[in-house]
């Protein structure tokens, strides 16, 4: 068991290392660095100006050295003031040190956001909290409804209820967030006026039914059909299993069979699907946050990408990759926990 976890952690660390390296490489491509320099200097800066800004701020140091420094296994060097020759802080708004230190991710320093002119951690933590809240509500509405629909339609395969619910699920899986968001906003925001088409106020004033419903149900609808279909498939398979016949021939009634024997077995497969929905949800959340102007992780990511905010971008990828890997781990462990056949091995 311990060996299993250690191996998994090893693979996770390797994955993160590989992925951040790729991201680091891509954000440090010449056009991207120029984009950064332009957004940090004046609009019509000359080429020399851009070059000197990049050199001064350490973007011309060897690639691997900078990557190692970001990780924290190599010291970060401060800027050298051209006139005095003294070491000065690179980005003062982030209170970057003016001495040579190890200040990378493993030291807990995620760097400086050039776009928001603040430390990455200070920008990202509130954004993550906001997104966490959104994700929680999405899951809390999506999962129970999806499971219920899936169980209901898989219980009696081929019945009218099953067919009707299947059509509903197919329609929802065909409706990506940017479609349902638009349609729902038109109906409930513009025409009926019941709900707010923007969640901008949620950041300051707190969430309300009025400003938060649309951002929650938009991604929930898209994900729901998928989980419901998986649950249905799993339920259909379980209901034809021999042990369900055993239970029936023991003298159990239909609903007792469903609740006592089918349900637990039918929920094992969807559990994995649900856990793997988290990373999937991340894309939806980005769209929803952009669409409804909700100050969360997704909006931060889009802003960081739009301005090539290197450190913020790296941290965003770190967070997303971590989310993927952790949910995968939970899904595997949880699967083993739910399924006694796996547990013993």
């Amino acid at each position: 068991m311990l060996a299993f976890f250690l191996r998994r952690l090893g693979v996770m660390a390797l994955t993160m290392l590989c992925l951040t390296f790729v991201v680091f490489y891509l954000v440090n491509l010449e056009p991207n660095l120029r984009k950064l320099a332009i957004s940090q200097t004046e609009m019509h800066a000359s080429d020399e100006h851009i070059e000197s800004w990049l050199t001064r701020n350490g973007y011309r140091r060897p690639f691997l050295e900078r990557y190692a420094a970001w990780i924290g296994v190599w010291p970060k060097k401060p800027n050298i003031d051209a006139e005095t020759g003294k070491q000065v802080s690179r980005f003062t708004y982030c209170e970057e040190p003016s001495v040579v230190v190890y200040a990378g991710v493993i030291e807990g320093d995620f760097g400086c956001s050039t776009k928001f002119k603040t430390k990455v951690a200070e920008k990202l933590l509130p954004a993550l909290r906001a997104t966490g809240l959104l994700m929680f509500w999405v899951m809390a509405t999506m999962v129970p409804v999806a499971l219920f629909l899936g169980i209901l339609s898989g219980m009696r395969e081929g019945s009218k209820l099953d067919r009707a619910l299947s059509v509903v699920s197919i329609v929802t899986t065909s409706t990506p967030e940017y479609v349902s968001g638009v349609v729902l906003t038109i109906i409930f925001g513009t025409w009926l006026g019941w709900l707010n088409g923007s969640a901008a106020s949620a950041t300051g004033d707190g969430i309300t039914f009025y400003n938060f419903t649309l951002p929650v149900i938009t991604p929930a609808i898209y994900g729901m059909g998928y989980i419901a279909r998986m649950t249905r498939a799993s339920m259909v398979e379980v209901m034809t299993a021999q042990y369900i016949r055993t239970a029936r021939l023991k003298g159990l009634g239909f609903y007792a069979v469903v609740l006592k024997h089918a349900l637990r077995n039918a929920l094992i497969a969807p559990f994995t699907v649900i856990m793997l929905q988290f990373p999937w949800l991340l894309t939806g959340v980005v769209i929803v946050e952009v669409m409804f102007r909700y100050q969360g992780f997704g909006l931060a990511l889009v802003d960081a990408a739009g301005n090539n905010d290197i450190d913020l971008m790296l941290s965003c990828s770190l967070v997303s990759v971590l989310l993927v890997l952790v949910t995968q781990l939970i899904s595997d462990v949880g699967y083993a926990f739910l399924n006694p056949r796996i547990r013993v091995q």
Binding site: A3, L6, R7, G10, V11, A241, Q242, Y243, R245, T246, A247, R248, L249, K250, G251, L252, G253, K260, H261, R264, N265, I268, L338, N339, P340, R341, V344
Partner: protein, 685 residues
């Protein structure tokens, strides 16, 4: 007069599909008396399982009883309300079926699944329920009942699971127990244990039984009366003694004649397969369903109108559905039974010496962490096979017989030892390194006919590809002609060349498998359980086909099987394997006569005999086959051996017995002293 517990009268069941309604069971009648065991025998698709499910009113949604009635204990099952039906299910009628693993809920502990039955049908406290369930687990003779109550199904072996299913069925003391092929998925020696248990418990609890099986031997061992089904109808029924002693329906007779009898072989008493094949449910012939396959068929008599079941003895117990019962001479010897000369064996073709195959059982991934364990699949095996000879390898699951075949075919390479084929050593040549000639000369017939042909290509093109691969035939036309000849060889119409595998029946697919294997004129054929997935009458046809082709081509055959009656019939020499070891080898006569290795003795005793005259010594093995991952110390068989007490000291636990030669060509691995071996009596007499 005693009322029957189960009384089925003129039952007909149909399944409605999109296009038509297909009758599955027609005019089926059968009575089960209290305390009696009724056997229901027939080949797949004859409707026997449908009858069982109809009794419990658990047909699939498309299935419907169209006429007739089922009375249980005097009550009409069709008139019961859902509620009443639930009360009867599990408490008065219980059922056990084929796949024990699938019949148990994988996420529920055994104890829970057992006590549930009591909670449904009786008012019991938790403690009472647990105590009764525990008693039942003890009654089905499972070791360590407390631990078993707390385990999940997958933690038990197949045999143990089936015992649990039986315990669950008997827990509420039902009046009728339906067993649908309860031992088909199990190994022979495990099967023998289950059969023994069912018989014992049936007597102990006085339960009536409906025992469904395709195996006439099993029915003979367990039942008092039997009903034979063919193509949706009961064709013959009566007391076991009558049906087995004086057959009165051509189909039943055909079944008996298509089974090899122990003590006979392919030369002394060739089996006679039933010609043709089971008609599809919507293509049944008019009149007698068996007509087209029957040698007593008379046009204008048998195919005129529906044949009724009628009584044929004074006691009104023996019934037959044959128009010509009175006219047929039931004692006439079968026409085709011509004895043949044994083909003399030629020079040694394959010589295996000290062959070993070990596997590393670590699933090493990107970061291989787990310690590597070795599985000793084949351990120090030596034998020879001669030209035109049939060598049988017998053993139950995990004995290493399939691994051995893979090494010979080049799909695996040996860890140690030599396998000399003709005059080349092939043990460490993987198939990529073998030349076409060698590959073509060692071919294989596979076990599962439904899996042996690629479903994406036509039958003919698959045979042509084989020819092409072996470089036989110069042009496409020539190969195509050869393919048609091969179809002739396996007695299939030439039109089959363009058919897709899914349009063929199991037996026909297996014939294609045979044609493909013989395409390259092989000198050695390895047949891995070639009949085990086929019905009795089809088995006979394939067996006959293989024997004929082998006789003509003087091919060496290595027959891998667990079916001792088949092995006795086909083989010249036999190797008995257990957990990777050859425990006994010798000629067929030597293996089937004392002295036996204790394992061979148990195997022989486990064969269900379909001969009411033969007497059998009963040896039921304890426990289960150990896993090849953790084989026992010393003699591999010592954990289950019934003769172990006759060996002094702890020799069996400590030392692997050496192979010792008893007679010319007869050798075994056993510590038993010669005096005891000499005292052994035949298992079957």
């Amino acid at each position: 007069m005693v009322e029957p517990i189960l009384d089925i009268r003129n039952l007909s069941i149909s399944f409605s599909t999109r296009a038509v309604e297909i009758p599955a069971v027609m005019d089926f009648s059968c009575q089960v008396m209290p305390g009696e065991a009724m056997g229901l025998v027939g080949e797949s698709g004859c409707g026997k399982s449908t009858v069982a499910l109809a009794i419990l009113r658990d047909l699939a949604r498309i299935g419907r009883i169209t006429s007739g009635s089922i009375h249980f204990n005097g009550r009409d099952m069709a008139k019961l309300s859902e509620h009443e039906l639930r009360q009867i299910r599990g408490s008065e009628i219980a059922m056990v079926y084929q796949e024990p693993m699938a019949s148990l809920n994988p996420t529920m502990k055994i104890g829970q699944q057992l006590t549930e039955v009591l909670f449904i049908h009786e008012r019991v406290t938790k403690e009472q329920a647990y105590a009764r369930a525990l008693d039942m687990v003890k009654a089905v003779k499972l070791p360590d009942p407390e631990r078993i109550m707390g385990s999940y199904p997958h933690q038990l072996s197949g045999g143990q699971q089936q015992r649990i299913v039986i315990a669950m069925a008997l827990l509420a003391k039902p009046k009728l127990l339906i067993l649908d092929e309860p031992t088909t998925a199990l190994d022979v020696t495990v099967e023998a244990g289950i059969v023994e248990l069912v018989k014992e418990l049936g007597k102990e609890f006085g339960t009536s039984m409906l025992f469904i099986s395709h195996n006439l031997g099993l029915i003979l061992e367990t039942c008092d009366r039997v009903t034979v089904m063919y193509s949706g109808e009961a064709v013959e029924s009566g007391p076991i003694r009558d049906v087995f002693g004086s057959v009165r329906h051509p189909y039943t007779q055909g079944l008996f004649r298509s089974m090899p009898l122990l003590g006979t072989n392919r030369n002394s008493r060739p089996i006679i397969p039933i010609p043709g094949q089971l008609p599809l449910p919507h293509e049944r012939p008019k009149g007698c369903h068996f007509g087209p396959r029957c040698s007593h068929f008379v046009d204008g008599v048998c195919n005129v109108s529906t044949v009724a079941m009628r009584s044929i003895d004074e006691a009104n117990t023996h019934h037959s559905r044959c128009m010509r019962v009175e006219e047929i001479d039931w004692h006439a010897p079968p026409e085709a039974a011509t004895q043949t000369e044994a083909t003399g064996a030629g020079p040694v073709l394959l010589n295996v010496k000290g062959l070993k195959k070990y596997y590393k059982a670590a699933a090493s991934e990107f970061f291989g962490g787990r310690e590597a364990r070795t599985v000793k699949a084949v351990e120090e095996v030596s034998f020879t096979a001669r030209e035109a000879e049939t060598l049988a390898i017998v053993g139950e699951s995990g004995c290493g017989k399939s691994t051995l075949a893979k090494v010979l075919l080049g799909l695996e390479t040996a860890t140690d030892g030599t396998a000399r084929y003709d005059d080349t050593d092939i043990q460490s040549d993987p198939i990529e390194r073998r030349d076409t000639k060698l590959i073509a000369s060692i071919q294989m017939i596979f076990q599962n006919p439904f899996d042996t042909l690629n479903p994406s290509y036509s039958v003919g093109s698959q045979i042509i590809r084989t020819l092409e691969r072996f470089g036989i035939g110069a042009s496409r036309e020539e190969r195509s002609e050869m393919m048609l000849n091969l179809l002739d060889l396996v007695k299939l119409p030439r039109a089959f060349a363009t058919r897709m595998p899914r349009q063929l029946s199991g037996g026909q697919k297996q014939r294609i498998g045979v044609a493909r294997a013989f395409a390259g004129h092989p000198r050695m054929i390895i047949a891995d359980e070639p009949m085990s997935a086929l019905d009795v009458s089809v088995q006979a046809a394939i067996t006959e086909l293989l024997t004929t082709i082998q006789r003509q081509s003087r091919t060496t055959m290595v027959l891998i099987s667990h079916d001792l009656s088949l092995v006795r019939y086909m083989a010249d020499r036999i190797i008995v394997m257990y957990l990777g070891h050859i425990v006994e080898q010798g000629t067929a006569e030597q293996i089937f006569a004392p002295p036996y290795h204790p394992y061979t003795e148990a195997l022989l005793s486990a064969i269900p005999l379909a001969n009411s005259l033969a007497k059998k010594r009963k040896i039921v093995l304890e426990g289960e086959i150990p896993s090849a991952l953790s084989p026992p110390s010393g003699c591999p068989f010592q954990t289950r051996c019934h003769m172990k007490s006759k060996v002094s000291g702890s020799l069996c636990e400590q030392v692997v017995p050496p192979m010792r030669e008893l007679k010319e060509g007869h050798a075994m691995k056993c510590h038993l002293p010669t005096e005891i071996l000499d005292q052994m009596t035949p298992v079957i007499s």
